[in-house]
Structures are given as structure tokens and as C-alpha cells.
């Protein structure tokens, strides 16, 4: 294995007609680029006032075949989830993360009243609905950014048929670069970072678009406006 490594790196250097980069050369060249983490060219559509970006996020997410509901405060979350599921005749049994912000789903009056059944942690293959909080929303393309961690199983984003993502309006950013900045501020890069734009789809049969290929058939985004 070391032989192959040396041969490949040696081959690259032979082709480049130079030896390994000296520290000074690295610092002046590629190391500087790694350290700078400089955005290259951010499109205009990733810029704008918070209101403009929220509108753009909504428009782009809907274009990508997601559905979006805007709710006032996290208190409204259980009710919004229950009515979304009921309106579509979907199961009201859901599985969500162990993030503290999802605590409100457990023991809510809806759960108490039997209108929602909430499980937490890892989904089983038979679970059909998941509710996951997003780290950021990216207005540029209507994309939500989710990350794995002790409180979040990534399979929640792929196994169930209905994927409900909870996103705070204040967490909407313009472009991917701002989403990365937010992630870096959280600490080490998580094991998995998912950027999700609309539900699962395929065009592999005669190029006809079908939703729900292997991942979720529905992506529903609950956009939460914080109550003052």
C-alpha cells in the first residue's frame, strides 16, 4: 500500500516536473488557499435582505417540489404536523430526533390526546414519518442543511416516506458559503452533512420524472417564525 502511495505521488510529481512542495512553496500556494477558505464567486441571487432571502427560499423550495408551511413559534409545531399528516391521510406516528428543540413534540396536548404518536432517536424500517430540525436553509436553491450527531440520526432523512424538516426563519442564509460558515462555527465537521433540495426523484425510466425513488416521497418544510 505504501508502495502504491509512493508510486502515485511520485508519478504526479514526475509529471509536474518537480519534487514535493517545500514548506515555503506550500504556504505561498495551496496552504494559503486552504487557510483562506475564501468564497469564489457568490451569485447575486444568494444575496439580499432577510425578507428577500426568505421569499427566495420559499419560491425555490416549492419549485423543487417541497411543500412549505409557515408557523408562528415552536408552540405551533405539534398542531402543524398533525394537520399536515391528517390532511393527507398519513400515519400520525412519527419519529424525531433527541434534540432539545424537539422536546415540545413529546407530551404536547396533541400527543396526550392521541392525535400524534412520537418516537425519538433511530427510525425503524417501518416508520413512515420523520421530523428533523435543520441547521440552515439556503435561499439560493431552496435547500435545507441537516447534520448528523448524537441527537440526530441521518437515516431519519432517508428511510421514512414523509420527511418533515423544521427550519427557523432566522436560520435562512443566502448561499452555501454562509451555511458552511455556520457549520464551522458549530465545531468539528459532523460525520454526515446533508443538503436536501426537494423529495427523492428519478428519471431513469424513459426520462419521466417520478418522485419517491428510494428516499422520501414528500419533503415538507415547516418554517418557524420566532414569536417576539
Amino acid at each position: 500500500m505504501t508502495a502504491a502511495r509512493d508510486a502515485i505521488l511520485g508519478g504526479i510529481r514526475r509529471s509536474l516536473r518537480r519534487g514535493p512542495l517545500s514548506d515555503a512553496e506550500a504556504v505561498a500556494g495551496p496552504r494559503a488557499r486552504l487557510d483562506a477558505k475564501a468564497p469564489i464567486l457568490v451569485p447575486e441571487r444568494a444575496k439580499g435582505s432577510p425578507d428577500v432571502l426568505v421569499d427566495r427560499f420559499l419560491a425555490m423550495a416549492i419549485e423543487a417540489a417541497a411543500t412549505v408551511d409557515r408557523i408562528q413559534g415552536m408552540e405551533a409545531l405539534p398542531g402543524a404536523i398533525a394537520s399536515y399528516l391528517k390532511d393527507r391521510n398519513l400515519s400520525t406516528e412519527l419519529v424525531t430526533t433527541t434534540d432539545p428543540e424537539m422536546d415540545g413534540l413529546v407530551g404536547s396536548s396533541l400527543e396526550g390526546g392521541g392525535l400524534l404518536t412520537v418516537k425519538r432517536g433511530l427510525p425503524s424500517p417501518t416508520d413512515t414519518v420523520s421530523v428533523v430540525p435543520a441547521l440552515r436553509g439556503v435561499a439560493e436553491t431552496g435547500t435545507v442543511m441537516l447534520r448528523s450527531g448524537e441527537t440526530q440520526a441521518s437515516t431519519l432523512n432517508f428511510l421514512p416516506e414523509t420527511h418533515i424538516v423544521v427550519l427557523k426563519t432566522s436560520d435562512i442564509v443566502g448561499g452555501l458559503e454562509e451555511a458552511w460558515a455556520a457549520l464551522r462555527a458549530e465545531g468539528p465537521t459532523p460525520r454526515t452533512v446533508n443538503f436536501i433540495t426537494g423529495p427523492s426523484r428519478t428519471g431513469d425510466i424513459e426520462q419521466t420524472l417520478q418522485m419517491g425513488a428510494h428516499g422520501p416521497l414528500r419533503l415538507h418544510i415547516l418554517l418557524v417564525d420566532e414569536t417576539p
Binding site: 502504491a4 508519478g11 504526479i12 509529471s15 488557499r33 469564489i40 432523512n157 433540495t197 428519478t202 428519471g203
Partner: protein
């Protein structure tokens, strides 16, 4: 994968006679091309992003050793392993060893062109490990024992009735008389069958659209979500990637993402873009326990510093083949190996050697559409010409063509003789053309006259008419 590039000319005849294929390729022209045009028009910065993409990849190739070492260090730091493999055989063996160590019976696979390049599926099967392709298109062609005919739409040549035939044969667990006419019915059945594969697999193998030096991340871009289920559920995740997939930072990855989906399917962003960093962390509820990256060279390091270095900027979006009139007529299988279309005609001789693939660079009218739509600004027509020159230098060109070119160049270097010759031939053809003004047959041009007539010259050559003062 075994190559049939040496029988390219025969492959073409088979393809042109295949009506099913012709129908599928027509759909491609209205689908991918139109959607790309809309997506590109909507982003005013698209051209500037292409320039930036070209510059980024050039910088990466100039510092490839540095970025690969940085990437490796980051993967190790996050608890993963990096396996450097010089060629397909080393890579196949490494993957098999990982599977054996995991005591794997079945592996699920996300779509990977590197896997095709390595010929991984056949090798695993020969050694008692069952590979299951999970991308719908890849699954369909795996059942049909075929190879992909397109790098992002592997089953583009297959019609839905053929998918139904393959499913009826492969899925005896369902009622024989079930309806399978609609794409939805076919998809639901595949989803159902593959769900148990995802849950039962011991190892998951995916490709990588990018590797990121800054974080040691591997990136996959999919629409189905199959790649994610492939890498999240089994105990071991193996990533197959070639050297040139690396980019320095997450910002650089953002640039590539802005170009990739728009150029490929005309989407603003594919449904799922996933960044993976090492194995499951302590306390994580899911994710693989082992994380392996196979770094495959397979001839790429030798392309650096040559006329073909620019090809290593390719991000495999398939825009070049979607817009190629030759690919649009013959489809991907005729090209005979993993990579079809313009990018394949340049890359295949680079990776397999020119000897068996010399016909590929000749199958182009050099119309330039591929270069015009390439988000990495790869000068594909120029490189096709480089291969033609090399073919001639190495005496790989067929005798007839060499003789013809020699004959032409003898006259081309003697303008007086050339003008005399063309004058005689033009008059002769005019007489042969007679009253109709065209010829039904002409020696040495049967390929042309088999399907259409040759218009006869009007009599005098352009040079003569110009000299006598005629002006348009």
C-alpha cells in the same frame, strides 16, 4: 470492464440499426438539453462560474500531490482509511479484502463510474460477494447484464417495456400478472425490492463526485437517495474515487456544485448532496463503523503535463454527450468502454492506450458543441485533434487513409499542380453529372452515395472564378 473500443465501427452499425435506441436518444435531446439551457439562462453568473471552475481545477492539478496528502491526513484524523491504488486490479483486490474482513455476503452500491472502470461487479461476484446496484438505472442494467450507456443516465437506452421484462424475470416473488406498464409501477416495485437489499447489506460502496482536502470529506450528489441509504445502513462504507476528484475547500465544492447539476440535468441543485466524514462518531445513533476511501490512479497521473491534462478537469456532468450529434445518433454502448461521448473519446485512449481506441477520436465532426457546453471549459475538440495527430504519428491510421492523406498533401504543397488537378476534376464531374447536375455514384465515395447523391460542380473552380474577377 472489458473494452470493445477496437470494434467501434461495427458497434456503430449495430447501434444505428437499433430502433429502440434511436427512440431513447431522441428523448434525450428534448430532455437534458432543454432543461440545461433553462437552468443556465437563469443564472447570470454561469459563464463566470465556468471560468472559475476551470481555474480551480487547474490549480488543483498543479498541486495535486499536496491536496491528496492533505485529504489523506484529514481522513485518518476522522478515523477513516485511505487506500492508494495504482490500477484497477489493485483497487479490486483492496475492495475484496475489505469485504472479506467484514465477512460480507452482499454489498449495496451507489452509482459509480469508477466501479465500472474497475470492473468491480464481475470481480466481486467471481469471489463470492453479491453486488446489488441501487441506483434505479444501474439496477435495471445490472438485471439486463449490460453496462451503462450514459454516465448520468445509465439506462437511457432501455424502454419501459424492457424494464418490465427484466423485472418479471428477476422478481418471481410478485404475481406474474401484475400490471407493470407505468413508470410508477416499475419504480414502486424496485423501491420495494431494493429496500430489503439496503437493510441486509454488509458493505455499502459509493462513488464520489468530489473529495475535499480541507475536511477529508467525500461528497455524493444524487436524486434518488440510494447513495445515502447505501452508505448509512451497512456496517462498512467504501468510497471509490479517482485522484482528480479532489478540491481544496468547502467553498470550492460550492462552486463545483453550482455548475454540476445545472450542466447535468438542468436542476438548480440535485435532491441530495451529502458530505461524509469518516466513520460513525462515539454517541452517533447511526452511520457506518468503518470508512474506507479507494484512491484510484489508473493512468491519470501520467496524463498530467501532457496535451491531455485538461481532461482531468472533468466533473462527469455529461453535458458534452447530451449535446453531441455523434452520441445522439449511436448512443453510449458503441463507444465500447465505460466513458462514451466526447469526454469518453478523449479519456478512453488516455486510460486504455490509443492502440485499441484509435477510432474514437475520429468519430467527431469537431462541431464544437461539447466545448461550448462544458462547465470546466475543457477543449474537447482540440484534444480529439491531438489524438488524431498521435494516431498518425504512431502509424495506427489505416493504410487507405494514410495513402489518401499522403496523396492529398503531395498536391497541397504544390499549388500549381493542385489547381490544375481540381480544374480537371471539376470539369470531369460536371460532364458526369449531366443534366441532373448530381451524381448517383462515385468511386471511393460509396459511404456518401449510398444514402444521397453528390451535387456535381458547376464547372469552374473557385480560384479560377476569383481570378477572372467574379465577386459575390
Amino acid at each position: 470492464m472489458d473494452s470493445t473500443t477496437h470494434t467501434f465501427k461495427d458497434n456503430i452499425k449495430v447501434a444505428l440499426a437499433n430502433e429502440t435506441l434511436v427512440h431513447s436518444l431522441e428523448t434525450m435531446k428534448t430532455g437534458f438539453r432543454a432543461r440545461r439551457a433553462v437552468a443556465v439562462d437563469r443564472l447570470p453568473e454561469f459563464d463566470a462560474l465556468c471560468d472559475a471552475g476551470r481555474d480551480l481545477k487547474n490549480h488543483v492539478l498543479e498541486n495535486l500531490d499536496f491536496y491528496l496528502e492533505t485529504f489523506e491526513a484529514k481522513v485518518l484524523e476522522s478515523g477513516g482509511k485511505v487506500h492508494w491504488c495504482r490500477d484497477s486490479e489493485e483497487a479490486r483486490k483492496t475492495v475484496l479484502e475489505i469485504c472479506r474482513a467484514a465477512d460480507a455476503k452482499t454489498v449495496t452500491k451507489g452509482k459509480s463510474m469508477i466501479s465500472e472502470e474497475m470492473g468491480l461487479n464481475d470481480y466481486l461476484e467471481e469471489n463470492g460477494v453479491t453486488p446489488v446496484e441501487t441506483d434505479l438505472g444501474e439496477y435495471i442494467i445490472q438485471l439486463r447484464h449490460e453496462h451503462p450507456s450514459h454516465i448520468i443516465a445509465p439506462a437511457i437506452h432501455v424502454r419501459k417495456f424492457q424494464v418490465a421484462e427484466a423485472f418479471r424475470k428477476a422478481h418471481p416473488q410478485y404475481a406474474a400478472d401484475r400490471p407493470l406498464e407505468e413508470p410508477r409501477e416499475l419504480l414502486d416495485e424496485a423501491r420495494d425490492v431494493l429496500r430489503s437489499s439496503f437493510l441486509g447489506a454488509d458493505v455499502g460502496i459509493t462513488g464520489a463526485n468530489m473529495l475535499i482536502a480541507e475536511t477529508g470529506s467525500t461528497v455524493i450528489v444524487t436524486n434518488e437517495g440510494n447513495g445515502d441509504l447505501t452508505q448509512l445502513l451497512p456496517r462498512v462504507h467504501v468510497v471509490l474515487a479517482s485522484l482528480e476528484k479532489i478540491v481544496p475547500t468547502l467553498e470550492d465544492a460550492s462552486l463545483v456544485l453550482r455548475l454540476l447539476a445545472r450542466s447535468a440535468t438542468g436542476q438548480e441543485m440535485s435532491s441530495y448532496t451529502t458530505f461524509s466524514n469518516g466513520p460513525r462518531r462515539p454517541g452517533d445513533p447511526d452511520g457506518p463503523e468503518e470508512f474506507h476511501v479507494i484512491l484510484l490512479d489508473n493512468g491519470r497521473s501520467n496524463m498530467i503535463g501532457t496535451d491531455f491534462q485538461d481532461m482531468l478537469r472533468c466533473i462527469r456532468c455529461a453535458a458534452c454527450m447530451n449535446h453531441c450529434p455523434v452520441y445522439g445518433a449511436i448512443g453510449g454502448h458503441a463507444y465500447g468502454w465505460v466513458y462514451p461521448g466526447p469526454m469518453g473519446a478523449v479519456l478512453t485512449p488516455g486510460l486504455l492506450g490509443l492502440e485499441g481506441a484509435a477510432d474514437l477520436p475520429n468519430a467527431s465532426s469537431l462541431c464544437g458543441r461539447c466545448e461550448a457546453v462544458c462547465p470546466m471549459r475543457i477543449p474537447l475538440p482540440k484534444m480529439l485533434r491531438h489524438w488524431r495527430e498521435k494516431e498518425f504519428e504512431r502509424h495506427l491510421t489505416p493504410k487507405g487513409t494514410r495513402w489518401g492523406l499522403g496523396f492529398w498533401s503531395f498536391f497541397a504543397r504544390r499549388p500549381g499542380l493542385y489547381r490544375l488537378g481540381t480544374r480537371v476534376v471539376a470539369r470531369m464531374l460536371r460532364i458526369l453529372g449531366g443534366k441532373q447536375g448530381h451524381l448517383k455514384e462515385l468511386g471511393l465515395s460509396n459511404g456518401w452515395t449510398a444514402v444521397r447523391d453528390i451535387p456535381a460542380p458547376e464547372g469552374r473552380t473557385f480560384m479560377d472564378r476569383w481570378a477572372s474577377g467574379e465577386r459575390p
